[in-house]
Amino acid sequence: MLAPLLNSLGDRNPQLLRELKSRFRGRGVVTALVLSAIAQLLLLTFARTGMESTPWQYCSVSVPDDQLWTDAMWALCTTNGEPYGPIDWTQIDWSKWWLEVLTFMNWAMPIVLTGLGMYMLIGDLQQEEQRGTLNFIRLSPRKSANIFWGKLLGVPVLVYVGIGAMLPLHLWAAISARASAGFLASYYSLFVLDALLFFCLAMVVGLLAPRAAKAQGRTLLAGGVTLAVPFLCAAMLVPYHFLSRQWTVWHGFSQFMYGQTSWKPKAWQWFGLQFDQQSWVAHGVQWLFLGVAGFWLWRVLRRAYQRPNATPISKRQSYGIVISGFVLLLGLFSPFAGLDNDTAVVGMVLFMLSVWFGGLILIATLLPDRQTLLDWVHTRRMQAPAERSSLIKELCLGERSPGIIALVLNLVLMGGMGFVYLTQIPTLIEGYRDDMNMIQLGLLLTLLLIAMYGALAQLMLFLKTPKRMLWAVGSVALAMVLPLLCGAIVSIGDSSSGLAQALFLISPVPWLVLAKETTEPFMVGGAILLQCLILWGLLWRLSSALNRAELLMD
């Protein structure tokens, strides 16, 4: 019965069949099931021990506040009514105990699934890329989506088996803890969507890491990534993701995720849609966020697979990612439904961090290397003027052209959205007008700085040395650290030194100077002018290098 099913599955998705043949073998499945059973047994044992040591926590009678940590508290749910006496099991509210089991499993299952699954996917794709077998799959007429689904479902299959074996206990715990069907539907849907998203990210990393490692001749780099990325995602991103949901989708279900607590966090809103009023609104927005992230990750994944020598994202994709990413983010801090002071500050900080984070990611993913630039120069040189598309169009949208103009355009998009957002806030929050000018200037300085780093990185990526990627990373890091370091040294002797202020203004933390009331406007203007001049100089240098390369082709 299984053979015809596998045969039909293999016809639809040969990659999945190949992975299952390789992994879904007796010993592996039994090991996964045994490990899962041991984990469940350990969990129940620990939970039981926990109850025996603090029975009052599970007692059907709640501890009055004035009896907390008194003998009366320890006497609760004991057969003889004495503190630390034998437990009276009839008085135990088992739903509380099951709630603890459920809460632990709610957190542990996604962390285990994400960590192990990502590790397997990154390792598998790295191995395929390094061995060269992936090239054969690339040459096949199967659509990339077909291959990805095969990998997604097949490579971590033993983790799925292990987690699947935990589901009966999870469901039983949920029923016993009186968790609603709504929570379970929400939890499972987001569990699956999160896993898909992280696994797509793992595949992107698995495809890109060997390329970066090869470019730098560092195989250790790929090995480090295989361990570091799943660890970071499982240990930091998943818990952060789950914690942040207390303000959104799980606002109404907080006891099932965060334990019994009287504290109820304030719910967020997105462009005026209140998350605490209707659960489906929060879920809709959450799915929208995950859907948009998944859409772009999938596009990046497809590109990494189909075009192993191209930049990780195209110029067109970069504009889409920046616009959709910032619209989603700013929606959470939009002033539609009233924005309090604290949320506005969090929003501005998050926005600034996103500009930095987004800018640096764009530098790493949008700038082509020397070979691609030479190909571009070569192709343009070979084309008749009538065939050639306009230079502006090429620089903004072209596949192989330098990425710096596209980076600048993205920064303009970020800046545009940021300035519109910032101008909305002061009308609603009193007392913020003065600081807003400082924030807007800081944003302008930051955008110029990122453009400068991008131009520097693009110039380094055009170097002849094979270690050009290392040069690009090193020079950007130096450009970030050096003004900061020099500024700090100069300010030791004289904290109000003009030179120190100027150095801080062209460092990643211009706020250090902008926040001071004594800062002269000409100093800020000078810093903006200086950054523009440096940017212009770097662009001129890049343009000369490209022209020289063209001349050498004759």
Binding site: R18, S22, N135, L139, S140, N309, D375, H378, T379, E399
Partner: protein, 315 residues
């Protein structure tokens, strides 16, 4: 006229300042076995990788059976027509021979019952039928290379691109591989094969292309190449000695340069006539009273022609 199996137009591939393939205009007709020769680094592998869609050209166009390859597309139709066996042939060592071929057959949309038929046919073609259940890691290099060929042809591509397919194989494995290619040629498959073993190409190919410094400096049918560039030589020995022999040869028709082979009582004669003319030359020598003990006509083979052309520069 049939659509060409391969047509490239000003194909260029640049690696940094190094031009690996330079303005190549290659045409291969359907059913041909096209041999690609040239020194190491001449651009053969890069050209084959571009034809197989494994590498993007810097500039230029490639059409496979009339379909121009597009840079922004998966080119699924063209990919179904192409079978590519690179010089390194990574395999999945954990799979059995059958499962490996089955996986690739499925990747190329082969369904039952045809899939099983094809798998049996290709295993027979590459003489690995008795190894169908063996794990790939247990196969010898020659067997793995033949398995690579089986994988390449299992979905019946119309165009087969083979990059150094017999390098590192022992003579018997080479013969087996050659037999397999001959069988594929008989089935009407177009084959482009790059190899340094020119005697193999001599036997297999209908056309030859020579690459030097990334350029296709010669591309013609094998018979035309022989006609243009191969010269006939005759080794002659007579008991009367080389001087007497030389005197007769100097006046004989179709005889070119006469070379005395040092240390031997033998001459090597460049001969421009046909087989009948060679027979008449032998007759005239015997009539002249010479006791001819050796009369051995030979012709330049592909290797001699290649060396004569002196295309030895890499790109």
């Amino acid at each position: 006229m049939d659509t060409l199996a391969i047509q490239t137009e000003n194909l260029i591939k640049q690696f940094d300042s190094h031009t690996a393939v330079n303005q190549v205009n290659l045409t291969v007709a359907p059913g041909e076995v096209y041999g690609l020769i040239g020194p190491n680094g001449a651009g053969k592998t890069t050209l084959l990788r571009m034809l197989s869609t494994a590498e993007e050209p810097t500039a230029g166009e490639i059409a496979i059976y009339g379909e121009t390859l597009r840079r922004d597309s998966d080119n699924p139709q063209a990919k179904r027509r192409i079978g590519f066996l690179p010089d390194d042939f990574p395999l999945y060592n954990d799979l059995s021979v059958w499962d490996y071929l089955d996986y690739f057959a499925r990747l190329y949309f082969l369904t039952e019952p045809k899939r099983t038929q094809r798998l049996n046919a290709v295993l027979e073609l590459v003489q690995l039928t008795d190894k169908r259940n063996a794990t790939i890691s247990t196969l010898s290099r020659g067997m793995q290379q033949r398995l690579g060929l089986a994988r390449t042809v299992v979905y019946e591509p119309s165009l087969l691109l083979l990059d150094e397919p017999v390098s590192g194989l022992d003579p018997i494995a080479r013969i087996q591989f050659r037999d397999a290619i001959r069988a594929l040629q008989a089935q009407g498959m177009t084959v482009v094969i790059s190899s340094h073993i020119l005697s193999d190409l001599d036997e297999l190919c209908t056309s030859i292309g020579i690459m030097q410094q990334g350029q296709l400096v010669e591309s013609s049918r094998l018979e035309d190449l022989y006609e243009r560039l191969s010269s006939q030589q005759i080794l002659i020995h007579a008991l009367e000695g080389v001087e007497a022999l030389k005197a007769e040869l100097d006046v004989a028709p179709h005889v070119g340069e006469v070379e005395l082979l040092p240390g031997q009582e033998q001459v090597r004669v460049k001969f421009a006539g046909s087989q009948e003319d060679a027979a008449r030359l032998l007759q005239s020598l015997v009539y002249a009273g010479l006791s001819v003990t050796q009369f051995q006509p030979t012709q330049d083979d592909l290797e001699s022609i290649f060396l004569k052309l002196d295309y030895r520069q890499t790109s």
